[in-house]
């Protein structure tokens, strides 16, 4: 196969990926993603777990260590089929807190600690560098395979040159599609789709090569099985330590690898996709590893001894003369390498810019505010970081010379990132995890990993001297890098795994238990651990773009319908659009936020808009600002409430006073009209008879008669006026009381005698208990007599019984005497009982011979002045009144 065709195919393939990414980005910006955000694409994008190490290296691994290569797939399989334990929570936390990377996850969980962010970032970069070098190496090796196989070896690149071209190309692609825009959700639809395409290519390539090997070379499944049993692989034995250790390690790595976190959590479009991926991703892994063993077995059998088993996927088809199949396999390997490098460098660049460059920039230039200035800084930082990460990878490749076996480097990188595991798992499952514990665990784990695994991987005398290998650090035997604490007999990989993670987890636990977390840390801890119970629901604004309608609904809720509509209309007009829905441009959103913050406070407005726009994280600082603002508002509204209560109490008092005044006014009017009526009647008759008398020539008897009438009427007038005067004196409380010591019996006797003048024609049967009446009162006897006269006269006037009776009973209670005056008449109807003590209240006009209806009113006033009371006594078989009077009336001070 001509080398030129290979390069041309590579370029065509890359251009095709560019095209895919470009079209998807266009569709994403138009909001038409559709099936591109399906579980299928999500699952396929997860396949960046399978790098070139898997694609080429697994066969080599199988050729060297038998079925042990399966452990690298079993770990992720267990994690995914057990998604309900951990991944579900991880994805929910990532989406709810808008986590941008694994460093962001750790730093957010432990109170937004930037220190932890920096630690995780540095660890990730250090661990990823050899891994990226590994990818470059695999591409270079695969080029080399074709180059050496080419008969016309005229156009040939050196290995270093190939690596530099590949690294540059990947950097350009990643920068173009990874840093096109600054989206806080860090979603890169174009790249994710391109990776999904690459996932299909590598799966198809591996299955094609495998099928060719099984059915093309071996001649069927049964034949293949027979050859497996006959091969060197049959000598394979399970090494218990490595078997379990590597399953655990790969399970930890699939959660902790920055690139896996990127596609699994950050790029996740929908939590539901995870459910599908829980079985689809293991299926993909199984597909990827299905033909590894046959390829390894046939490769070992067919290819000359000493050929690199890592390249069997390519060399086997080439040796069998299948150029096209080899080309497909080459593209599969190329895809594996490129997709891993692209996503890894994006994830690392996000971490580097967010946790190292931007904090530094803000510290060096504190005046640089948010806005376009900072955005361009972030983008530039990411571009430089991507270039830097690839340069590091190339540098590592250049220095190491690409000699080590692929699998060894891969496992070392896995163990490096797995150091994040205790802090991560502890952080999302245990509220007691603290920043100090996490930092201690990370640093110790990282140090142990570097000392026992990473630095020794360069070989004796490269970084660590051979004496250290042999005698330990500072000549202390139990500090040998591959035999800590005298455990020298272990497999180096398992030794490093055991010691680094054990010491890491111990430091994490002890540090967490012994320290006390800060407030933000505790808040974040609760929010992470209880993410499924939290008040914040799942983010439904998954599109990451603001819907103007949703913004309008929210604005209406806060500003009111008219104000919101007019604001939106103005904004739409300013954008040259008709209607009420402007485009959610940054300027419009800023204006809206400013407007809303006038209503709900800056922090809340920011949080609300960012929730709709999906542009920024709702941080704990935001929430705290919201809380303090709400506290202020609550205090203010409490003040308002108390003021309002006072006002409404005052208003109630005023209303009552007003009503009283109105009643008084009505009473006064009624009183005046009654008075004038009462006065007019006698006046009319006086005037009429006096007019007749002034006519003269009247018989003397008529004169005498008319004179008597006039006199009577004048007496009545006088009495009325006397009563009125009396009443007003009593009501004003200016009455002069003449206190004497008098027998109650005398008072009643006097009253009965005086009342006999009223309707003297009626005879009453009076029941009295004179014994009980023998009690002396200190009171105004004349006034009290007046009351009894009134009551007895009323009884004489109004009692309609055939045999009228009057019952007077006296009782003494405490310092008070009660006198009940009861007749056996019809009594007073219930509805009138409340009225009888009012002035001019007369029940019927039948018996108006008496006074002007002032009698009982006067009685009441007298009793009030005497310190007693008078009340109607219902249910006595007739009209009954109870007079209560104190035994000893003390003179009032005034």
């Amino acid at each position: 196969m001509p080398f030129n065709i290979l390069v041309a195919a590579c370029l065509l393939y890359v251009m095709f990926l560019f095209l895919v990414a470009f079209i998807v980005e266009r569709r994403a910006s138009a909001g038409r993603l559709g099936w591109l955000r399906s579980p299928l694409v999500y699952t396929l994008s997860l396949s960046i777990y399978c790098t070139a190490w898997t694609f080429y290296g697994a066969v080599g691994y199988a050729a060297r260590s038998g079925l042990e290569f399966l452990t690298i797939y079993f770990g992720p399989t267990l994690v995914f089929i057990g998604w309900w334990w951990l991944l579900r929570k991880l994805v929910r936390i990532g989406r709810q807190h808008r986590i941008t990377s694994i460093a962001d996850l750790i730093s957010s969980r432990y109170g937004k600690s930037n220190l932890l962010g920096v630690i995780v970032t540095v660890m990730a970069v250090v661990a990823a560098t050899p891994y990226i070098a590994l990818q470059l190496q695999s591409v270079v090796l695969s080029f080399g395979v074709f180059a050496s196989a080419a008969p016309d070896g005229d156009v040939r690149l050196g290995a270093d040159q190939t690596a530099i071209w590949v690294a540059t190309g990947l950097a350009v692609f990643t920068i173009l599609f990874g840093t096109r825009n600054l989206d806080a959700k860090e979603q890169h639809h174009g790249i994710v789709t391109a990776i999904a395409v690459e996932a299909v290519v590598k799966l198809v390539a591996l299955i094609a090569v495998g099928s060719f090997v099984v059915w093309g070379i071996a001649g069927g499944v049964a034949e293949t099985i027979a050859r497996i049993d006959a091969s060197d692989l049959a000598a394979w034995q399970v090494q218990p330590g490595r078997w379990t250790g590597l399953i655990f390690l790969s399970a930890a790595a699939v959660i902790c690898l920055p690139r896996m976190f990127q596609v699994m959590v950050v790029e996740s479009a929908d939590e539901g996709h995870l459910a599908r991926a829980s079985w689809a991703f293991p299926l993909y892994l199984m597909g990827m590893s299905l033909f590894i063993v046959p390829i390894a077995v046939i490769g070992l059998e067919r290819l000359p001894a000493g050929s690199n088993p890592d390249m069997f996927v390519l060399t086997l088809p080439l040796a069998e003369g299948q150029g096209a199949l080899a080309m497909l396999a080459f593209l599969g390997g190329f895809s594996s390498a490129t997709s891993m490098v692209i996503v890894e460098s994006i994830a690392l660049a996000t971490m580097i810019s967010n946790h190292i460059v931007i904090p530094l920039w803000l510290r060096l230039r504190p005046t640089a505010g948010a806005g376009d200035d900072l955005r361009s800084v972030v983008l530039m930082a990411r571009r430089l970081a991507i270039a830097g990460v690839l340069a590091l990878g190339y540098g590592y490749y250049h220095i190491s010379g690409g000699s080590a076996a692929l699998a060894a480097i891969g496992l070392i990188a896995f163990l490096g990132v797995a150091q994040v595991l205790p802090a991560m798992i502890g952080g999302i499952l245990w509220r007691g995890a603290t920043k100090v514990g996490a930092a201690a665990g990370l640093l110790i784990g990282f140090a142990v990993w570097a000392y026992t695994s990473f630095l020794p991987s360069f070989g004796p005398d490269a970084v660590l001297s051979a004496t250290i290998f042999a005698d330990g650090l500072f000549g202390i035997g139990w500090l040998r890098p591959q035999g800590l604490f005298g455990t020298g007999g272990m497999d180096p990989m398992i030794h490093a795994l055991f010691w680094s993670l054990t010491l890491n987890a111990t430091a994490f636990f002890v540090g967490s238990v012994l320290t006390f977390p800060g407030p933000v840390e505790r808040l974040q801890g609760a929010a992470f651990v209880n993410v499924f119970e939290g008040p914040v629901g799942p983010q439904r604004w998954a599109k990451g773009r603001a819907e103007p309608e949703a913004l309008l609904v929210m604005a209406q809720r806060i500003l009111g319908e008219e104000a919101a509509l007019s604001q939106f209309q103005q904004a739409a007009q300013a954008q040259g659009k008709a209607g009420f829905l402007p485009d959610p441009t940054p300027a419009f959103l800023d204006g809206l936020e400013a407007r809303l913050s006038g209503s709900v406070g800056a922090a809340t407005a920011h949080a609300m808009i960012s929730q709709l726009v999906g542009r920024a994280t709702v941080t704990v600082e935001d929430l705290m600002a919201v809380a303090s603002e709400s506290a202020q508002i609550m205090e203010y509204s409490a003040q308002l409430e108390s003021q309002q209560g006072e006002l409404s109490r005052t208003a109630g008092a005023l209303r009552e006073a007003n009503e009283k005044l109105m009643q008084l006014s009505i009473q006064k009017d009624a009183f005046l009209s009654q008075i004038s009526h009462e006065l007019r009647t006698p006046m009319t008759s006086i005037r009429a008879f006096s007019e007749i008398m002034t006519e003269g020539d009247l018989p003397p008897e008529m004169v005498a008669k008319y004179g008597a009438i006039i006199q009577d009427e004048a007496k009545r007038l006088t009495r009325l006026l006397d009563d009125l005067l009396d009443l007003s004196v009593l009501e004003n409380g200016t009455v002069q009381l003449n206190l004497t010591l008098t027998s109650l019996q005398d008072i009643i006797d006097k009253a009965l005698t005086a009342a006999r003048q009223t309707r003297p024609e009626r005879s009453f049967l009076v029941y009295r208990d004179t014994a009980s009446e023998a009690v002396f009162l200190r009171t105004d006897a004349d006034r009290l007599t007046q009351v009894f006269i009134n009551l007895i006269s009323n009884a004489r006037k109004y009692c309609d019984a055939a045999q009228p009776e009057l019952r007077i009973s006296v009782r003494q209670r405490g310092g008070r005497i009660t006198v009940d005056v009861t007749d056996n008449g019809r009594g007073i109807p219930k509805e009138a009982q409340g009225l009888i003590f009012e002035k001019f209240a007369r029940l019927s006009d039948e018996n108006r011979a008496g006074g002007a209806g002032l009698g009982l009113a006067i009685c009441r006033e007298i009793m009030t002045n005497l310190g007693g009371a008078i009340a109607y006594l219902p249910g006595q078989g007739g009209a009954g009144f109870r007079v209560t009077v104190p035994l000893r009336l003390e003179k009032l001070a005034a």
Binding site: L67, G82, A226, D229, A234, V238, I247, S278, W279, V293
Partner: protein, 90 residues
Amino acid sequence: MARSRRPLFLARAPYRRRRLRDAARLLPVFSALLLILPLLWPADTASRLTSGDVIYFFGLWVLMILAAAAFAPGLQSGDQSGDQSGDEED
């Protein structure tokens, strides 16, 4: 607070959902046990064949995938129907 408001017994559908979650939690545990089962196999390679190992592992793998695929739809719908209290006792 919220714990006290939680009912002691559940209706049929939420009950089934809880048991499905229990099954989903146990699946990786059982799978892991079966995956490290080869540690107990006799060490002498003469008595068995590598192809048998291959068939065992891939058969187990298929079973794991099928079980996960059987659980996934129920877990997902339960998750979306608002019953979010996934990590509590019943």
